[in-house]
């Protein structure tokens, strides 16, 4: 039996104990898991980004008060009390981390990918961001300022990537399909399709 199987047995027994004590119910746990597997994910963030690319006044609202926008879109909850959106430009690139735990804007991106929670990312991106991004496949020009945002309180950060060239013919839905979760964390750019 491997270690993970061991843990699975312990977790199943703990769930049985808590269920027996009336502290949790199976339905409650099932629906919570299903919600984060199926409903809350990076598509929420991608829709915000795509709309910001096609609608200048929406983009202005998103950059000035993203919290109000996600409330209007009914995306609140899921660990986001205040959302701040940071815009990438030809001269500024933003990247998000949580060095103390793994805080992440669940409501717009779902649960974080494993690398975001890794010690390598948490330890290094606040010290050598350019090197870390390069190792992850994103080479930025020397004159691009890299701004790192460490989520050390309850403010959550989302990166608004640059719209790729050659996409003027695409509508909002097609644009949203281009926007990757990693681009909204800031470790990737959105490529021309």
């Amino acid at each position: 039996m491997n270690e993970s199987t061991d843990i699975a047995h312990r977790v199943a027994a703990l769930e049985a104990l808590l269920t027996q004590k009336g502290l949790v119910t199976e339905d409650q746990l099932d629906s919570m898991v299903a919600r984060y597997e199926q409903q809350v994910g990076p598509l929420n963030g991608a829709k915000l980004v795509a709309k910001a690319w096609v609608d200048p006044s929406f983009k202005e609202s998103l950059l000035s008060d993203a919290t109000a926008v996600i409330k209007a879109w009914d995306l609140q909850g899921g660990q986001v009390d205040k959302l701040v959106v940071k815009e990438n430009t030809p001269s500024v690139h933003n990247v998000v981390v949580c060095t103390l735990c793994s805080c992440y804007p669940w409501a717009v991106l779902g649960l974080p990918p494993k690398w975001y929670k890794s010690p390598e990312y948490r330890a290094r991106v606040v010290v050598e961001p350019r090197t870390v991004l390069s190792e992850m496949g994103l080479d930025l020009k020397d004159d691009v300022e890299i701004r790192v945002w460490d989520s050390s309180a309850e403010i959550r950060y989302l990166v608004l990537p640059e719209r790729p060239e050659g996409t003027t013919h695409l509508d909002e839905t097609a644009l949203a399909d281009l926007v990757s979760r990693d681009a909204m964390i800031g470790v990737a750019q959105v490529d021309t399709p």
Binding site: E3, S4, D6, I7, A8, H9, R10, V11, A12, L14, E15, L17, L18, K21, L23, V24, T25, Q28, L29, D30, M32, V33, Y36, E37, V84, V97, T99, L100, C101, L111, K114, W115, S118, P119, E120, Y121, R122, A123, R124, V126, V127, E128, P129, R130, T131, V132, E135, M136, G137, I146, R147, V148, W149, D150, S151, S152, A153, E154, I155, D182
Partner: protein, 227 residues
Amino acid sequence: MDGIHDLGGKPAFGPVDRSLTTHPFERPWEGRVFAMINAAGRSGAYQNTDQFRHAIERIRPAHYFDHGYFGRWLAALELMLLESSLVSEEELNALPERPINGATPTGTHTAGMTKADHDGQASSLKDLLASERNPPLPHGDARFSENHKVRTISQSMPGHTRLPAFARGRDAVITDCHGLWPFPDARAHGLAPKEQHLYTVRLDRRSTLDQGVVHLDVFELYLEDAS
């Protein structure tokens, strides 16, 4: 508290493996733990997210990385269930396999706290509040505004804190003011002050090796005037 969880700037870690799984739960048990933490909070296992985060911070350092992110959640869940008396030590001991990550309560008197870190935190907060270097303004007004030059405190806190070690004792500039927010460093321990003004600060450029600029969110009690 200083500890393995406070990873920013810690040396000796290698490249980030971006190919690591992107599914929210790599294994089914991770999803069950995720859901149980949320449900147990509603059943009184802990009062707030800050207590939960502090329970993770109390995992024995040698075991912090043993079973990944949700392994830490499981260890914290067991700890908080025990400390809130919702589950007894006998009941936990009767579960199959050994407890993971080695988190154990020591001298506990209530959820999310040990007597030692509660008293240490209370004393540190009291000293900071009385310090002449960071006097609060009357009427609870914010001391700083955008572009104000500040310096982060250099001391560590014995209990829960949201000021990472790499950001201590740094020159910084206020870039955003967020008003009053619940103060996690007191709230995790049931202490005062309940709220603090929160600011986004930009650390001095020398804080990174390759010309990056680091921002983080810092509570007013941890900022000194450096104008």
